[in-house]
Symmetry: C2
DNA sequence: GATAGTTTCATACAAATGTTTGAAATGCAA
DNA sequence: TTGCATTTCAAACATTTGTATGAAACTATC
């Protein structure tokens, strides 16, 4: 058998099993049985179990990050070099949400694998996630260009909350479905993205004033009353 | 040695080790060594390793949930039976945020343990978290009373996003610190709670109109422009 | 202080797991 | 075909792990 076929078979089997049963419950023996290859093949082709998991995760991560940067670039070109804050957030949360949610993605192994990786947290995946900060800096920079007057701290909190809502929706979709008794439609990805984007934009622009008065975010000063909105 | 002393020693040692090194890296042998008790003591007093972890987690969970309900009750009494939406969200996110963040909590084993439990995800903890839905329903009910006209779906999304921001801040505080190069102050818990509450209230009240026009949330209809705010 | 119930202890068990090994098979170029 | 490198394979290795056992030590009650 060609070397690459064994490699691919292992990758496919591993992704499927991890997606279905989680990292804790799947052993190398499960994977090689599913892939119909020899036990030693994993260490021969990947070096170790952790490197296999890492390769699975980086592949999907790179995919998401590339989509994010493509969307960001497209938005910047539309705006003549400067994207709107809304489009920046959309480029940030759209790809992972589209990648993990939606009715067509239900059966997608890749989607289920990434949801798993978001819920459980194994060392090789943690290591890769830690490198994500560099990627996020590009979005922070774009946000800074989109909202020049805004305090950096506010931008970071906005970026952070956007990711919070996106990731938490992916990770806790079952619970939200159960809590809302099915009322929250988790298949309408477009609407979810709109929701996350609009809340984030609201948070980022709250308290912002045209130009005269100094920008002083209302929500860090204390409690907020209806009149403030 | 009195029976309870061994039990407590195991609980304390386990919480400390899990807090420091995570669930994946700590074995029963590590725990009993730290607690200076015999290996068999764990199974004698707790039945199994999973039941030990479960007991640790439920203890802290019950604590948080009680604080939440106390705050909710206090807010409802202040408002004559009906709490404001702001106070409800505050009661929801305040306790876990205060429990896990802040300079004084830095050395707290309980805080570090709960952060760990939020990052990693082991079966016994997952089982307990699944029961949390019943607890959250009480807050959904309170929100419904606070915003009678609002569509239920909107309330659930608001509740969901509030938890998203709170939990994600707890779980990713290191990353936010690194991304913002220390600009985001994660020790100022009061300000963080204010932030989460105000963003949530904004999300929940956006598009809401005094009474005449039908409430139609702007952010589910499509992109949001500055004028909409 | 004898007895019954509880707790501790050293040790063994049994199973699972990632990894390694060395030979056999296969592929491929000269 | 020969020879060399790559790949596959069965088997074994070496730990690690949670759990169980049965005797010993301890405690409290009568």
């Amino acid at each position: 058998m060609a070397s690459d076929q064994t490699r691919s078979a292992i990758l496919a089997a591993a992704e499927r099993l991890y997606a279905d049963r989680g990292f804790g419950d799947v052993t190398l023996r499960d994977i090689v049985a599913e892939a119909n290859v020899n036990l030693a093949a994993v260490n021969y082709h990947f070096g170790s179990k952790d490197e296999l998991i890492a390769e699975l995760f980086v592949t999907r991560s790179i995919q998401t990050n590339r989509e994010r940067l493509n969307e960001l670039k497209a938005a910047e070109e539309r705006g003549g070099g400067r994207a709107t804050i809304e489009d920046i957030i959309r480029a940030l949360v759209g790809p992972p949400l589209r990648g993990c949610l939606g009715p067509d993605r239900e059966g997608s192994t890749a989607a289920r694998f990434m949801i798993r990786a978001s819920i459980e947290s194994v060392p090789p995946i943690r290591r890769i996630k830690n490198r994500e900060v560099d990627h996020l800096r590009k979005f922070a920079a774009a946000m800074r260009r989109a909202m020049p007057g805004r305090d950096d701290t506010e931008l970071y909190w906005g970026l952070h909350f956007a990711l919070a809502m996106a990731h938490h929706t992916i990770r806790e979709k079952e619970r939200l479905l159960r809590l809302s008794e099915g009322k929250c439609d988790l298949d309408d990805v477009r609407a979810i993205i709109d929701r996350v984007v609009s809340v984030t934009v609201m948070a980022l622009t709250a308290g912002e004033v045209p130009a005269s008065k100094p920008a002083r975010p209302a929500f860090v000063q204390g409690r907020l009353t209806r009149q403030d909105l």
